[in-house]
Amino acid sequence: MGAKVIFLADMESFYASVEAARNPSLRGKPVAVCGDPALRHGIILAASREAKAYGIKTGQPAWEARRMCPWIIFAHPRMQTYIDYSMRITRIFEQFSDRVIPYSIDEQFLDLTGLEKIFGSPRETAAALIGQVWAETGIRCRVGAGENPLQAKMACDCFAKKSSDAFFELNSSSYAAHTWPLPIRSLFGVGHRMERNFHRSGVRTIGHLANLPRDMLQRRWGINGEILWLNAHGIDYSTVDPDAVHEQKGIGHTATLPRDYRKQQEIELVLFEMAEEVCARTRRQGKIGSTVHLYCKGADFDHPAGFSRQKKLPEPTATAAEIYPTVQQIFRKHWDRMPVRAVGISLTGLTAYRQLKLGLDDHCYQEESLAAVVDMVRERFGKTSLFRASSLKPGAQFLQRAGKIGGHDS
């Protein structure tokens, strides 16, 4: 059997490109999409190619971008519009292959194995795909190709974005020559903390990692260490299966707080609101979860702190009153009393509601009935039609988050 042909298509400065596509007067100008500076969402979410030429980067505060380029044009994020554009692009990709998986709002995998006779070589196919997306949406895309999703991702992130024709191809024989000299942080799966761990062990490049014994990494970091070793060798067993993308592993929410939260009461209030939000979404899908996961990010950028812990619930559930005590327990155990910048809660181990929820006691029954009624009222009259009085307390986020997508205006 021949090698697979996998593409990763990445949209250039996606949010800013959508803004320019919708408003052609913005084309060729430095544009940045950023949230409301008053709510600390004033960070750059996307900067156009022209804005990047001034050194403006994603994640930078808006005021800093303004200082670097006084004539920069700021656009307010419109998340639903970006989702609609992303889905339009999915439909374009489906003209090339029926195996398309969106990986994020601006990245999508395509499996083009066996289609060479129709579309030509990977380079020719990529050129046609890039041309079609540009013609139909006005958005530039870059394509990385490989024999598996990892090679495609590495080809796109490390090379295609810098290539003049927005395309780069890696395969099993060229992978080492191209990627091994790159810094270890460039490897897919290596984040800030892992980079620090590797640096402490003297591992600076992908090649250094690839030359370590696989079982040593497995002993030290378990399955994650083994996956990183495979990634360093360009080996990846994942497939592009469109059906698998609809299997939901968990339901969660994260939020960057409008300011650093220092008081336990305030943080716990937001955690309760988020637990309710997560449970409402879980119930909407007719599911219950067995494990709750809490994520807290510290406020100090220079000394990244925080924690990420999970705990199995006494019984699978989808009511906030039942998951919140576990969330609170994790939070009180692991919070170091340092200011908190962002929090997140997710519920995993999802099963269908009827399958497991058999032994309801009176209290649980009351909680579930109440939650069902609240869901119905909110469904009919809007999310803010009924809420807890505690959401009026200082620090509460429910009203600010209602009606937003990803923490930004829809």
Partner: protein, 113 residues
């Protein structure tokens, strides 16, 4: 092999819930459209259906009609009584003398019952 090893991208994908539900709805709509796509019936096949229908009307034999309408594929059975070219309806008597009308334009198959 560990699931994480075969699904590292599914485990790390960053998708907004609204995007996921939009994609789910899109997949469902696509599946619905696939299941409701009207087959192209060639001339010879349509003539065959016409012959089966005329024969059954003449001999009062019951037939099974496969129909594709907005609700998907459905099956109707009964003895065809007459077809009305003006309304495009085929009248059947099914079961206990109940009269039923089937739209000829929605019929995709006819077979002896």
């Amino acid at each position: 092999m560990s699931k994480k090893m075969t699904q590292q991208f599914l485990c790390s994908k960053m998708m907004l819930p609204e995007h996921c539900s939009g994609l789910r709805k899109y997949a469902e709509d696509k599946k619905w459209a696939e299941n409701h796509r009207r087959p192209l019936l060639d001339e010879q096949f349509r003539e065959e259906l016409q012959q089966i229908l005329e024969l059954a009307m003449a001999e009062q034999q019951p037939l099974k009609f496969t129909v594709l309408d907005s609700g998907g594929y459905r099956a109707y059975s009964g003895i065809p009584l007459r077809s009305d070219p003006a309304t495009g309806l085929i009248y059947l008597r099914s079961g206990s003398s109940r009269l039923q009308a089937v739209k000829a334009s929605e019929v995709v198959g006819i077979e002896p019952f």
